[in-house]
Symmetry: C2
Subunit: 285 residues, 2 copies
Amino acid sequence: MQTYSQPADIHAAIRNARRQGQTIGCVPTMGALHAGHASLIERARSECSCVVATIFVNPTQFGPSEDFSRYPRTLDADLDICRRAGADIVFTPAVSDMYSPNAETIVRVKDISTILEGAHRPGHFDGVTTVVSKLFLITEPDRAYFGQKDFQQQLIIRRMVRDLNFPVEIITCPIIREPDGLAMSSRNRYLTTEERRTATAISQSLWFAESMADQPHAQPVTVQLALTERLNAVPGIELQYAVVACPDTLIQIPAGSRVANAVALVAARVGTTRLLDNHILKFRQ
Amino acid sequence: MQTYSQPADIHAAIRNARRQGQTIGCVPTMGALHAGHASLIERARSECSCVVATIFVNPTQFGPSEDFSRYPRTLDADLDICRRAGADIVFTPAVSDMYSPNAETIVRVKDISTILEGAHRPGHFDGVTTVVSKLFLITEPDRAYFGQKDFQQQLIIRRMVRDLNFPVEIITCPIIREPDGLAMSSRNRYLTTEERRTATAISQSLWFAESMADQPHAQPVTVQLALTERLNAVPGIELQYAVVACPDTLIQIPAGSRVANAVALVAARVGTTRLLDNHILKFRQ
């Protein structure tokens, strides 16, 4: 496994691999890797001849009061996980390798970046789409792998790829969960033992939503209301949003509309830690 | 010479050329080609083994009261010029081939897009950088060629390429002029005979600025003032701006600053036609 910190160096290495007929798969991460990231690298390994993982805690996607400086940085452990999961190349740039001091270009996916996570974290998705554009242009992948855990993110990146003609196929991979259901996240390590126990209420509320959706005549709005009430009743959970929305637009499904599929999306604070989860719901027709 | 209207088709053709070891040169245009465009294609021909010209009148870079609908469209003549100048491939998409109805992604180079042309044409450069990003991702060139006539545009595209890590070298080519000095522009064909005569005052004012800059102790601000006064005195010219600025930032050079090089940039209306011109000034040290 080769590691690079300079964009020009990894670009040359990947161009070389491509010239030899290899298919490039890219897994962009912020490090602090866990089994969810490993599953993305393994999926890339199974589909591509050259697997590139990127490890970069991107400052431009953090708000001024967010956890950029304390975000976990575990490079040695990350490289072990990359190696075991089958990465060929790892890109580990410093902030100064990625941004010139007077950088002024942004990539913005307009409407869908301003709702849900975008409403709670203004500017967050501009940071994400800008850095992912840069990573795509540096690594020039045929396929790129993202986790469904960040549902809105993978949708926004799909829009960006479509709108800007990036020659990249976006593969969204299933959420990987702890045995008790908690969606894996680098931020889970912020949780105290008690908070960790409380946090299981989030995934449990999504299974509850799934069983409600499976009832005859279930309506998305009814499920959304029940999901919200259930989470609001849990001590230690500060709900930010719980919605049942169209999986392609993230627009909430209005009362009276019948749909086959929807996505239930939850964001909540547990202590000082912000957690996300989501689940696809199938409604009986 | 091959022509394509579908992004996927031209992308496949160029990927194929690249696989055969070819170097790709791209010349993005809005059609209505003239000798200035031909010089870009010829320059690409001399430096690249596969020359791609794109012809697309991009609606997103026109303001609502601008000339999008009446912008000259001369496809047959354009293809002749492309052929004679040495293009291998021409991309002629329709608007619907380039933009899905619900496209919502923009590429924005922030500060420098809001001054000069950006101040007179709000949103113009967002349209330019977004469509050029798309054209770069569709044609994946090693080098792309732009005219110095649109000085701010080539500078903004250079910033974008640097900031987003586009693997493209930007080549800026000299302004091509009519025998009487008027900078070639697709919009010159809007001019009446009398306006055409009036318009020569613009390039003449730039030669005047050049000779002023060449005087001992000449100051950029003095040249800018004289340039402005001279153009304001020409009947039939409605000056929008005349500035003497740093060629890397387009910031006007303050009084008392000594510089070796500056760029004089002029925008003016002649009748209903908006014309641009510019010239590099060398100051004695």
